[in-house]
Amino acid sequence: MDKKTAVYICTGCGIGEALDVDQLSTLATSECGAAICKNHASLCSPEGVQLIKDDIAGEGVNTLIIGACSQRVMYDVFNFEGAILDRVNLREQIVWTHPAKDEDTQMMAEDYLRMSGARMKAMLPPEPFKPEQELSRDILVVGGGVTGMTAALEAAKAGYNAVLVEQAEELGGFQKNVTQNVVFPFKEVQANEIGKLAAAVKNHEKIKVLTGSKLEKLAGGPCLFNATIKQNGSTSEHPIGAVVLAAGWRPYDAEKLDPRFGYGASANVVTNVQFEERAKSGAVTRPSDGGALKTVAFIQCAGQRDPQHLPYCSSICCFTALKQAIQVKQQDPGANVFVFYQEMRTPGQGEDFFRKAQNEGVIFVRAQTPEVLAGGSKLAVEAFDELLGDKILLDDVDLVVLATGMVPATAFGADYKAKQSDEDKKNDMIASVDSIYVSDILNLEYRQGPELPELKYGFPDSHFICFPYESRRTGIYPAGPVRRPMGVSSAIEDGTGAAMKAIQCVELTSNGMAVHPRAGDTSYPEFFMQRCTQCKRCTEECPFGAINEDEKGNPLPQPTRCRRCGVCMGACPERIISFKNYSVGMIGDMIKSINVPDEYDEKPRILVFCCENDAYPTLDMAGLRRMNYNAWVRIIPLRCLGSMNLVWIADSLSKGIDGIILLGCRHGENYQCHFIKGSELANIRLGKVKETLDRLALESDRVRFEDISITDYQKVPAMLDEFAEKLVEIGANPYKGF
């Protein structure tokens, strides 16, 4: 692309009063290679925008540098078809945060203009990824229970083909063994409608139902997946667009329970799951001899909310116990039915169902550690009743039902890490390694492992409250109890939501666009393979496992799996990975364009690399509140701090920049990085630089990582000023002037 660059400087919102705009204009022409430079008192006004449009039309301008407000605002106004554009944040990050008509403020603005000039020189318009293979728009659903059937049916109703893989011979999953259930809004026990759902799925022309089948291999990426499915001894291959993982759950193994629950000590102690099996054949009777149930005790939280067993709450067992208790009452209103509970958990309108059980005569005993006494043929339950404040003994119990919890199907199988080669392990492993259980569900042909990484307790759930469908494998959306413990109604919601995300993934990917969180981004990383040294950093560090490897260790990028965060670009020591509009060289050129005064000017320079999602808005909000911080900083937003390449630190220090600070998101257990590991990786890389700096007798305090959240705008100015003071204390960078 032949660039014709124009620089436009807005003098509104205080910019004109604070800065020497003429000086900036001169610099635009002399240093940024701008053919045109114009000012306007209100560039975002229709007249200001027209000025730009006229130059695009009349002067053939196609590269725009707009010095005005933050890129986060007026985005719709400064949006010009066919031109590439950069925004220089003169307002929030210069004039609103620094003294007007001040030499240092002016130098800051000039540097930002230079940096933008360097950026635009290196920038190319992105070209969407268009593979040669045909793109599939079909949705693969793994698991034929409530969640999976719903996902397939809802996708089909929206016009997409679905392939449904179920290992059992019949659809239905766990729920096909449940005759009666209670669903939102939790009013009555009713006949389970799973059969209707299964019939609708089987009869839908857009759904290919493969029961008794297994997903043997899933290779490729969104719109380019190839699913190898084995059914009745033969295998078939299916091109797939996106995947819903609805593999469901298994009951917690009651054999592992504490002996106080009495499981195994009497035939009359069963789990809530075994109760369902018994209810299937009509009236529930005493397991030992088929006698009628006169006294039944339900014991909640059996091996749940217990660090020794399942530390979490399975969230449906209270409803299940209420339902089963009502079922017993309905088969014999004279039966004595007790529910021993720790906390009754019936949120929302579910409270109605709790009241219904009370009205049906079910007796509730709040007790933390009830004990089942199974001596001989007699069964009893002893508990400290918190409401009575006394010990109670329930004698002659015919049936004890234990509320065991849900374990996600993804929690089974060996840990993949254990299977990794010794060579992989000794490779200076960078970030915390994901746990992946070889659960034999997806069998991904991915370099980082065959299944989704777990978040906690074997659930491959999202870690993002705002984005519950975010998984760490692009285009594969976990749903239902495999994601978190949930009941039928939630699973239906979840299957529908996951189908939505799968459809969206197909729509975006087929247009060469990224999915969340950079939805719509058409750039993607390109690898200059001739210089690759097979170091495997990119393949190991990609938070989404997007890069495979050939047998020689060469990366095999899968662009449709890519989230465009640039972690690979930051990881690569050979700097062979770049985006058309974002590259190591481009940021390097921006750093090199900074004018670093010599030591005697006593004007240190601080480079700030910040996350554009959180730290950058924080700095903008500090501006909105007209807070002040030193004018020595030069801020460069990054797609993710994980895209920070260490060469930038070297570039900065050899240029004489005195300090470098990274403003990134919290990492660790409650990480906030939207690319999972970006800030953690940046911090680890920085740690390595510190070692090197110490070796070179260049103070490692010159580089720093700070956790910052988007609401830390009250703190960020002090953070930057304190760092500046520290640098003064250390003294000037000895490389200055070399």
Partner: protein, 420 residues
């Protein structure tokens, strides 16, 4: 030819559910109108300090969602707008939207000159009236759309002209009138959310009468850096640091006289707020008075962790009455200990009422045809073909579940407009 008008989706409510429904549908290639009654998107979550269980700020996810809107020209956002009427059927709905005057047009640059000259102050709705703001104001730091609002009282006052004259960009239009927009859409998602139950109706708990009794939504603002106390949790009566704080669960919820249902988020919200108190006051004594602690699924571990704090007392019992000690304005809680049956008296510096979620559909007139349950929720996803209810309109749920529900509703809406 695709008929763009009837192929589009109307999402009513710009809180977490509606925002999600709109963006998810738009990112799948659909045209969406998003109608929000506040001057900004984000709803209740934008007023939260942190989310449970990660204790991360809602602004972070909102920033991403707002960027998704910025990058997607298929979403048409109407703020200060409410649906006056809606009727029709699957594939063809007529909605009449009333847009209140903002008195500020799209020329606003948020430079703040109007606020500088404005002397009129109003109760700050963003902080539940706990402080004042200028009557020419930006609703909050990350307001989206990023544009000022002029309060109607200022617009009609003599000072209105002064404020208008201070704007260098001609962005203030004091003659702006309410306008009505008629939309023809193919599907509707109704996600109008909730209102905190009016704590004044809990007459024994002293809200409104005693300054140190606050509600859980107010507590979020007290802890937030952009709240009335700049994030310091202080007693409203004297601005002192509280040494003992009581969280009163089920204040109105699970109560036949108020909200018979469980609002489902208040246990987690109060436990989260206990961590706010703890972060600021390492020695403060915290009481949580509860019936059942409802920490569902993995949220249980948040509860387990908080129980390790020796100065957090989980007290099973219902607070029957709150009284005020006149001179100190300290609070005296009468609590029935359900475990022992005894009546306890507990003195605290401050009490936080975990007031529940009242569905806005129990208050508002629209939509007329949708059947409400006993509590005012529209408790079915598909109200009628092509018209869907989502989020806290359907059932009281947390943020993550709202996003889940909004995403599901987006697909249902798409299905009802898809051309086969």
């Amino acid at each position: 030819m695709v008929d763009v008008e009837t192929q589009s989706i109307l999402v009513v409510g710009g809180g977490m559910t509606g925002l999600t429904a709109a963006i998810e549908a738009a990112e799948a290639g659909r045209e969406v109108y998003l109608v929000e009654k506040n001057p900004y998107l984000g709803g209740r979550v934008s007023q939260l300090h942190q989310y449970f269980p990660k204790l991360c700020p809602p602004y972070c996810g909102l920033e991403i969602n707002f960027r998704r809107i910025k990058n997607n020209n298929r979403i048409h956002v109407l703020t200060m707008a409410q649906v006056e009427s809606v009727s029709g059927q699957k594939g063809s709905w007529d909605a009449r939207i009333k847009i209140e005057p903002r008195y500020v047009n799209e020329k606003c640059t948020t430079c703040g000159k109007c606020a500088e000259v404005c002397s009129t102050e109003i109760d700050n709705p963003f902080n539940y009236g706990m402080d004042k703001i200028k009557a020419a104001y930006l609703p909050h730091d990350m307001a989206f759309p990023f544009r000022y609002v002029i309060d109607p009282a200022l617009a009609k006052s003599a000072e209105g002209q002064t404020v208008k004259d201070a704007c260098p960009y001609g962005a203030i239009d004091l003659d702006m009138q309410a306008q009505t927009v008629d939309l023809k859409v193919g599907a509707v998602v109704w996600a109008t959310g909730w209102t905190p139950y009016d704590a004044k109706r809990l007459d024994t708990l002293g809200f409104g009468a005693y300054p140190n009794v606050v509600t859980n939504v107010m507590m979020e603002r007290l802890a937030a850096g952009n709240g009335p106390t700049k994030g310091k949790i202080l007693r409203p009566s004297d601005g002192e640091a509280p040494k003992t704080v009581a969280f009163v669960q089920c204040a109105g919820s699970r109560d036949e006289n108020h909200l018979p249902f469980c609002s489902s988020v208040c246990c987690m919200a109060s436990m989260k707020q206990a961590t706010y108190v703890r972060a600021q006051y390492p020695d403060a004594k915290i009481y949580i008075f509860f019936i059942d602690i409802r920490a569902m699924d993995r949220l249980e571990t948040f509860y387990a962790d908080l129980k390790k704090d020796e100065n957090v007392v989980f007290f099973k019992g219902k607070v029957a009455k709150i009284e005020q000690d006149g001179p100190t304005k300290n609070l005296v809680l009468r609590v029935e200990n359900t475990a022992t049956g005894s009546l306890n008296t507990i003195n605290v510096d401050m009490a936080v009422l975990a007031t529940g979620m009242q569905p806005n559909t129990s208050i508002a007139h629209q939509p007329t045809f949708a059947q409400r349950d006993d509590y005012g929720f529209i408790a079915s996803q598909e109200v009628t073909p092509g018209f869907f209810s989502a989020g806290c309109t359907r059932t009281p749920i947390n943020v993550s579940e709202s996003v889940q529900d909004g995403t599901a509703a987006a697909l249902k809406a798409i299905q009802s407009i898809v051309r086969r």
